[in-house]
Every structure is written in C-alpha cells, then in structure tokens.
C-alpha cells in the first residue's frame, strides 16, 4: 500500500511487464494441458496403436462424447452451480425425440424440435426451482435426476412396451438428421465423426461467450460472488436460469447424437455420466466453488478422460484393472494440474 501512496499518478510502466509466458501460465486450463501431455506421452510409450493416425479419430470421438456436455457443465460450474441431471437428461432428450416421432408417425425432425422444447423447459425448470427455493443446486438437480431417470424408464415402457425406444431408422428425415447429428467423413487417413467437429465449434463458441462477451463477465461474477454481482446490477437469476437452459440445450444435442447414432435409445442409459462431465470440467481447471474455470479446460479434461479410457484398451492391459487404471490416471492428471496451477499462482 505504501507504494501506491507515493506512486506518481502518471502511466505506470509496470503494466506491460508481465511476459506472455507468465500470462499463459496463469490461465486456468494450463495445468490440465500439462496433464494431457503427460497422459499422451505415457500412452504413446506403452500403447503402440496410440501412435497410429487412424486411432486418433476414435480417441477424439470418445472425448467428444464427454466434451460436448462438458462445455455447458463447465459454464454452469463457473456460474457457481451443479447439474446432476445432465447425464440422464441426454437420454431423456433422445427418448423424447425417438418416441414422439414414432408414436405420432411424424417426420423425425418434428421429434427433434419437440425434444428441444422439452429440454429447454427442463433446464428452465431446474433454474427456476433453484432460484425460487434458494436450495443448493446439488439437491434440486438430484431431485430432477431421479425424476428424469424414472420418467425415462416409465414413459418408455408405457409407450413402446419395452425398455428402449422403437427404431426410427426407416422414417422420413432420418438420414438428414443423421447427417447433422451422427455422420462421419474421411480426412486423409482419419475417420472423423461429425460430433468431433461440433465439439470444436461448441468449445470455441463457449470460450468466446465466456471471455469476450458481457454475459461471460456476468457468468464469472454470479459464480464468484452472487451478492456482489446483484449489487452492481447483474441480473443474477436470469444468468443462472440461462445457464441451466444451456445445459438443457446441449443435453438435447447430445441426445440427438445418441438417437441418430443407433436409431434407438436404451432408457436406462446416462446414469453416472453427469459426474464424468463434472470431472472433465474440474480436471480442466473449474473450481468446485464457482467463479473460476475455462471451457477450453473442460475440453482438455474430456480429452484426458477419452485418452485414458481408450489408452487402457490400446495398451492391451488386463481388462479387470481397467477402472483402477482410469482412476490412477485421472488422479495423476489432477495432481499435475494442481501443481502447475500452484506454481503459476506464485509468479
């Protein structure tokens, strides 16, 4: 403080003294990036198929399956909330579109649109209930999680008589919808799933919103200190409800991929995936307490998860140990992440 008292009120030349390297190091995702490199190098050494270009497509696809949902989950966590219903909501979206199209024999795009409306409503409901009751989002969305899980099974059974939605592969609009949500194309030796492309687009979009727009500033603020944000006029409720709706919209998109990839959706799917999305966001540098994090980080977190999950298979290790390996790799990635962040903070 003493220095500020005596500092001349002219332009301070210390402003520009932070090097690019130091600035990079202070980004939330840098720890996960180092973690990802460590995981990559590790599997490049122990798993020969990892070195082939063709497997890259598979790894990216596996990562995209997690990464697409990790984008809104990361934004929501930065905004200071959780959504435990995100995993089963994806299944709900797929089932809604599949069952609606089948039951009413409509063009599948109608089911797609209905599903979008339903998912927006579910997101808005989560956000509204949270704002209305003031309960922790952990509790509110845990409730939604169970409700959706039950509805998925119950409604599917009532409508289709089985535990999966009816196949819609022979219905109008299926091929065009599949082209949008679940197609693939060749890029040299690479087999690229369209989901990977969407994932990259979503990450770029999410990053832009978070870092470059007014809304992004508000997301940081409502997660960092909601009372402070409200005091300076940030519409806290609107931002938070908007974030939950975003999760709903992304769950819709993921659900459409699920549906058009297989033409049927199993109603019991998705349970437990909400934690994987949250883990991807946390590994990527999001604070569990909100107010800090990055969308790019969530993508790197998803990549670490995808590489580890498939790396164990590529390495040809005894499958009995799969989950244990997964846990160890994730812990290591997180620890590296933390260590790097500590060092960066010291600078």
């Amino acid at each position: 403080m003493a220095s500020t008292l005596t500092a001349p009120p002219t332009v301070d030349d210390r402003v520009s003294s932070r090097s690019l390297g130091a600035r990079l190091l202070s980004r939330p995702e840098v720890g996960s990036l180092v973690g990802a490199v460590v995981v990559l190098v590790f599997f490049l050494i122990v798993a020969p198929p990892f070195r082939e270009l063709a497997t890259t497509g598979t790894i990216l696809y596996q990562s995209a399956l997690i990464g697409v949902m990790a984008v809104p989950v990361a934004l929501l966590m930065i905004g200071g909330e959780f959504d435990l219903s995100a995993g089963v909501a994806v299944t709900t979206a797929g089932l809604t579109a599949g069952l609606f199209s089948y039951q009413f024999s409509t063009n599948v795009w109608v089911g797609v649109a209905v599903s979008l409306v339903v998912m927006i409503c579910i997101g808005a409901f989560n956000g509204w209930l949270l704002m209305r009751t003031g309960l922790p989002s952990f509790l509110v969305t845990l409730g939604t999680f169970f409700i959706l899980q039950g509805l998925n099974l119950g409604v599917t059974r009532v409508l289709s008589g089985t535990v999966s939605s009816n196949s819609i592969s022979d219905m109008d609009g299926f091929s065009s919808a599949q082209a949008v949500f679940a197609s693939e194309f060749k890029l040299g030796p690479l087999n690229v799933k369209i989901l990977v492309v969407w994932w990259i687009v979503f990450v770029a979009l999410g990053t832009w919103v978070l870092l470059k727009t007014k809304v992004g500033n508000w997301i940081f603020a409502v997660g960092g200190d909601a009372a402070a944000a409200r005091a300076v006029g940030v519409p806290v409720k609107r931002v938070k409800i908007g974030l939950f709706i975003t999760v709903g919209v992304f769950a819709w998109f993921s659900g459409m991929h699920l549906l058009f990839n297989q033409a049927v959706v199993q109603s019991g799917e998705g349970v437990g995936k909400e934690f994987i999305y949250i883990i991807a966001a946390v590994v990527g540098g999001c604070l569990l307490t909100g107010g800090y994090g990055s969308v790019v980080g969530s993508a790197i977190g998803a990549l670490i998860f995808g590489m580890t999950q498939l790396g164990v298979v590529y390495a040809g290790w005894n499958a009995d140990w799969f989950k244990a390996f997964l846990g160890v790799m994730l812990l290591l990635a997180t620890i590296v992440n933390l260590a790097v962040k500590r060092r960066a903070d010291l600078r």
């Binding site: 009120p9 301070d12 007014k214 960092g224 200190d225 009372a227 006029g233 107010g291």
Partner: protein, 295 residues
C-alpha cells in the same frame, strides 16, 4: 494519519439543495422497528457522516437508500422527486452508488472485469471492448491516484485498501451523484484507512454527495461536513461541523450520558489491581463496584 488531517478544512459547504433527502423515514420488520423517524439530507460536494454503534440502524439506512430494502414509513426523495426503490438497479439508475463493506467485487475476477461489472462496454453481439475497458479502468484508477500494476490480476489478491479504492473509482466513473460508503475503514489498518479517506475527499471534490458510514468518530471528523449519529434506530444527533468538536462527537458517539454513568461506576476500580487469589472452582474472585451497579 498526520498526512490526512485537514482534508475537511478544504471542504466548502455548498448551499445547494439536497440530492437525496430522507424525511421521517422508518423501517419495520413486523413489530421490530429497525429505523424510526430518520431525516437526512445529502448535498452535492458534501460529506455526510452517519455514525452509530453496532445495531444502531446504520445498515438498514444504507439498504433503504441502495434499494435493497423498501422503507415502510416516511418519504425518500431524489432530486426532489419521491422514490421507492425495489431493486439495487433502480437506486443505481438514480445516480446512487453504494460501496458495501464487502465491496461488491468478485474476488476471482480481474481488476478491469470487476471495474466494469454490470456496465460492460459492448460492441456488436454483446462482445466486450476489452481494450477500451482496460484503458479506461487504468485511466480512472490513475486519476484517483491508485496504481495497480496488472489489471489482469484477480481482485482477491489486492489489499483491502486497494479494493475499496477500486470500488469507489468505479462508482465515480459510472456517473454516481451520491456515493454511499459502508464502513470503508472498518477492516483497515491506520495507513490504509488514510488512503481511503483521501479518496473519499477526492470523490467529494469531484462533486459527489458522499454518505460516509462509520463507527469511528476520528475518521468521520477528519473528512465530514455534517454528522448524524444514530442510536437504537433513531437520530440522536444531527449537526454541522462548525457546531461540534471532535471531543463532543466522540462523546456523543461513545454513548454520551451513558458513558458518563459508566465512567462513574468504573471510578472505584483500580486499573493497576492484579488479582491472584483463585478459588477452588478456578474462577477469579474479585470485588468490583460494577457488580453492585449491575445487580
């Protein structure tokens, strides 16, 4: 502290009509009256100090002016017009900026993001003009004499005084006509308090009406033009600087007649007395006139 004495002498009391005027304002929560019959005028270029002990009603008063709570009795007028704020946004839009004890800064966000929070400068598609925002933040902070080397630094890593100053600079930049400061020096050391008081005077010099809420009469007397002391939700003193000395203000603030009675009671106590006799239950036995008084 010596560097900050004499700020108040520079002040010129302006005879303009009040920007914010409270007339017989009260607030009750059910049958609890937190605030009763408060009349207060905030004028441009003047520092109005509101003093009071904990629970005297200071924070209720701020919350009414800042739009966090609606008042239940009396009239609140801004620029001569009767108002009733139902949200902080309305209060802000009327030119009243409040700097709370907790400062309304998000600790993990950078200085420039905090500076413009809720008032971002945007280009097309809601994109923030970061370059412009950083430049303005830097200029405004420099104008206030605050030097923060790195505007990307999270606010949480700055000192308490620096954070106060950012909040004040922000309020001034965004066109506040009235600045309400809630205990800005309460959590600060002597040196940092001095810096904050300096900025309070700067805000006044910039033509703002300042409401300075504190329970420290020394700080109040250094900068204030006008003093209002609250006690148990009522105004117990309302006076101009010319009509009161620091001793009187301290006396009034510390409880006035109550303090006198207390000092009378304590007269029999020998401050140098050391009690060594400890009874079986471990309690110190001491005879004091206080016991009789309290009994």
């Amino acid at each position: 502290m010596s560097t900050t004495t004499g700020f108040a002498e520079e002040a010129t009391t302006s005879p303009t009509s009040p920007i914010v005027h409270l007339d017989d304002v009260g607030k009750s929560y059910g049958n609890v009256h937190a605030l009763r019959g408060v009349t207060l005028a905030v004028r441009q270029g003047e520092i109005t100090c509101v003093l009071g002990d904990n629970g005297a009603g200071k924070s209720t008063l701020i919350k009414i002016i800042a739009g966090l709570h609606e008042h239940t009795d009396g009239v609140l007028s801004v620029n001569g017009e009767e108002r009733r704020f139902s949200s902080p946004r309305e209060s802000l839009d009327s030119g009243i900026a409040t700097v709370y004890q907790d400062l309304a800064l998000a600790p993990l966000m950078s200085v420039w993001r905090n500076f413009f929070l809720g008032n971002e400068i945007t280009k097309a598609l809601g994109t923030m003009d970061a370059t412009k925002m950083k430049r303005i933040a830097h200029e405004e902070l420099t104008k206030m004499g605050i030097s923060i080397p790195n505007l990307e630094q999270p606010v949480g890593m700055l000192s308490g005084g620096q954070r106060q100053c950012i909040a004040i600079a922000r309020a001034i930049y965004f066109g506040a006509k009235v600045l309400i400061l809630d205990e800005p020096t309460a959590a600060l050391g002597v040196k940092q308090s001095g810096v904050v008081l300096k900025y309070i005077v700067k805000a006044r010099d910039a033509g703002l009406g300042v409401v300075f809420i504190t329970h420290n009469p020394h700080h109040a007397y250094l900068v204030g033009n006008h003093f209002v002391v609250l006690k148990l939700g009522r105004v117990s003193l309302d006076t101009h600087r010319a009509d009161i000395s620091l001793e009187q203000l301290t006396n009034e603030m510390a409880g006035g007649s109550e303090l006198e009675a207390l000092s009378h009671e304590l007269r029999g106590v020998d401050p140098e007395l050391v009690v060594e006799r400890v009874e079986g239950n471990g309690q110190v036995a001491v005879e004091s006139p206080l016991d009789k008084g309290a009994g």
